[in-house]
């Protein structure tokens, strides 16, 4: 019996191996906004990246809506939420006088202060990339529209890793998707609809991107595409018509009221049977006309032509790209179709839909009808948009972030 007891006891000895004090795995702390936001990734355009006034640096990046959302979610940028921080003064530094071509600091070629090496991470949570189209979220090397495929910052932001792949590496629990603006913007700023992404192409690649996002298991908030024809980068032909003629309830205003500026009657507002409301001048055209007139030169605008004309003394030439009514209609039709598709996708996939177009449109009163050339450069495009007239500045990003928060809270019952 003694032997048996000893044998039984001995056989139990290996179980003593469990006598060890274990440490625990630990988990990432739940952010104040809730576990839904433990890992937040922003897929987006230059708006998400934080471009302002034709440049980007850590200051503008911190004003971008993904940064604002991350903070609202309770995440700590640089610790549990990574963004591709650019060293000051930027990459490139923003303009402080876009009309004078002057940036906040001069840098030697290539004009980029590079990424801050102290903040590098295995992945970035803010994957906003300037100029990116929807197909390039899947393949950053696609160059379908070479005139607009200026993805120079893609290398700095993701290391040329495809954004959807880096998104997956971040194991997201929440994703914001803001894409599509560059599928129309390049065409608008260049005044040619040949650069538009066809709607079937947009839908194809948006669907593929959406599948990739859903495959991560993350909850999603998707923004629709803002109507690029309403951004202050563009000035309506009718605005110049009114400033010239003093019609429309606004006084004639120099230099547009000068005799050296001629505006065709077809540039009158729609209410006056003109097409000037749907004829847009890009910032270059508007600025060139303004400066030529102020300098004593002549300019003329005919909304039946595809370009505005200025005369610098050697004959009339183009002032810069414009959007004619046909192009305007094409762009608006495409944006409407894109937003219809995005809304359908959001509903089908259970995503929160952020009506970015509506949110920015609601603040249209803060968008000047024509750049404020006589005021300080910082107010060139009003209080919402930076000097390039395309990208929001701090106040504009607050509107965008609020729109995201409202949609997210409505859909997911959160309290951002």
């Amino acid at each position: 019996m003694t032997f048996r007891r000893l044998a039984i006891a001995a056989l139990a000895v290996p179980l003593l191996a469990g006598c060890v004090s274990n440490e625990t795995l630990g988990t990432r702390p739940t952010p104040a906004g809730g576990a839904l936001f433990t890992s937040y990734v922003a897929l987006g355009t230059s708006i998400a990246a934080g471009i302002q006034s034709g440049g980007i640096n850590d200051s503008t990046q911190k004003q971008a809506y993904p940064y604002l959302l991350a903070v609202a979610m309770g995440l700590t940028p640089g610790q549990d939420w990574h963004y591709p921080k650019f060293s000051m003064p930027g990459c490139p530094p923003p303009y402080d006088s876009i009309l004078g071509g002057h940036r906040i600091a001069a840098l030697p070629a290539p004009g980029c202060a590079l990424r801050d090496p102290a903040t590098v991470a295995p992945y970035e949570n803010n994957l906003g990339i300037p100029s990116i189209r929807v197909a390039q979220l899947l393949d950053i090397t696609r160059l379908d529209f070479k005139a607009t495929d200026t993805l120079g910052l893609a290398q700095f932001i993701t290391g040329s890793v495809n954004p959807v792949d880096m998104m997956a590496a971040a194991h997201p629990t929440f994703v914001t998707l803001e894409i599509g603006a560059n599928d129309v913007l390049g065409a608008a700023t260049r005044g040619t609809t040949t650069l538009l992404t066809p709607i079937d192409t947009f839908e194809l690649y948006f669907g593929l991107v959406a599948d990739k996002v859903d495959a991560t298991g993350a909850k999603v908030a998707v923004a629709n595409v803002p109507n690029v024809t309403r951004i202050p980068h563009f000035t309506k032909g009718s605005t110049l018509f009114c400033l010239k003629t003093g019609a429309c309830g606004i006084p004639a205003t120099p230099p547009f009221s000068l005799a050296t500026f001629s505006v065709a009657a077809n540039c009158a507002p729609g209410a006056a049977s003109g097409v000037g409301d749907t004829y847009l001048l890009g910032l270059t055209a508007t600025a060139t006309i303004t400066s030529v007139l102020a300098g004593g030169g002549a300019a003329k605008l005919d909304c039946a032509n595809d370009t505005a004309q200025v005369n610098l003394g050697a004959g009339f030439g183009t002032a810069g790209p414009t959007i004619n009514p046909t192009e305007y209609a094409t762009i608006n039709t495409l944006v409407t179709a894109m937003n219809t598709y995005i809304a359908q996708q959001a509903q089908t996939r259970g995503w929160a839909l952020v009506n970015l177009d509506s949110a920015l449109g609601a603040s249209a009163a803060l968008v000047p009808p024509i750049p404020n050339f006589s005021g300080p450069a910082v107010n060139l495009m009003g209080s919402l948009f930076s000097e390039d007239g395309i990208h929001p500045k701090a106040a504009g990003h607050q509107i965008v972030a609020t729109a995201f928060k409202n949609a997210i809270n409505h859909t997911f019952g959160t309290g951002l």
Binding site: L6, V13, S21, P117, V120, I140, L151, H171
Partner: protein, 463 residues
Amino acid sequence: MRRKAVVLAAALLAATGLSATRVLAQGFSVYEHDACAMGRAGAGVAAPCSGGSAIFFNPAGIVTGQAGKWNIAAGVTMIPPRGSFSDSVSGTTTDLVKNNIPVPNLYITRQFGTRLAFGVGMFAPYGLTTEWPASFIGHFLSYKATIQSLYFQPTVAYKVSPRLQVGVGVDFVRTMVDLHQYVELSSQLAQPGVTFAMLGVPVGTAFADARIHGDGNATGFHLGVIFKPTDNVSVGARYMSGVTITGSGYAGFTQLATGITLAVGNPFGVPAKTPLDALLASQFSTGALVTQAVSATLPMPAQAVVGVDVALRRDLHVLADVEWTQWSKFEQLPLTFTGASAAQQLPADTLYQGYKDAYDYRLGVEYAASPKLTLRAGYVYNTAAAPTFTVTPLLPEGARSSGIVGAGYQLTDGIRVDLSYMMLKQQDRRGRVIQPPTNGADVNQGLYKFSANLLSASVAFAF
């Protein structure tokens, strides 16, 4: 932008922390050198097993008093390490590659008269194979590390009196080290003063598979003493010196595909769709990543053990040992390279390890169930040698707790077999999978689990 040549700086190795010596800076001692001794949890410095393994467990113990007798014992312990790393950031868990590692031992002793004995033993008190899948997130520190350290120990022992015997041996040590790890790109210099990270390359981008292979020799010594104050009590002690192995070998690098195809407007000034790997390729043929010689000094720590054997009855012994291992010898580890040219030579590196001395507490029981059958059981607790700073994929070391059972059977007058089984469980320990930042921030981002079920078998011949 003009095309810029990609120049990996000479600081490459320091940036990666690539080092063979890092492998050795862990608690990787092996104590299972005989199935009989293992069955007692390794306790037995005061009364080693009779087959000849006393050469390791206490050189004084090879004197048996059986004049003219030869003893030859051979055995093997199968060590199948099992473990995993759970990442608290990604939530993923990666398992160790399942290896079964045989650790052999061989002992030969000869009694000259009743008071003198000679012997020679071969055993491997330090060694490891830690292998992770190459895709493991920790592959920049190591994905496969192998150490084979073989001790060859001629030994002589003398019985000074019926109650006192002493022994001494000379250790000839040969060590082989083989380390595989990936090399990370973002921390390398693309241009003077500009790292790839500053150009946007994500942390964790692998671009090279590095291998360091080397070997070396050293000589040490081993002392032991056994004293029997009473017929039923025996005390013993041994000391095995530390040795410093001057090793040499090579460091080789194989290019890995980063999978990165450069976008338009990239800062390298090359066309869109250019593979980044094409810009790096020359580094492996003419640059800093050509194969080059490496040399290092690899310390093997000293061991000291004291213990007691108490015969509660004629057929029942209780044995207890306390062992000290001088892991603190791994404070700083130097490594030097010799390239084909100055431009290709990687810089010398000194790694801080910060290990601390470790202790093992061993308790064994041996019961002679019959004249032929002996049953054994035991328990071992090992303290950790690795500080929090150096719990890495090389060997995620920590405190260990082991329970053992074993048995020996006398087949004939001259042949005995022993079998033992050990269940080893290491404490779950937080550790890291990346190089720590210079600011000292805690990067222990996951949990290492480690365990093993060891089987040992020995056969001893006496004639």
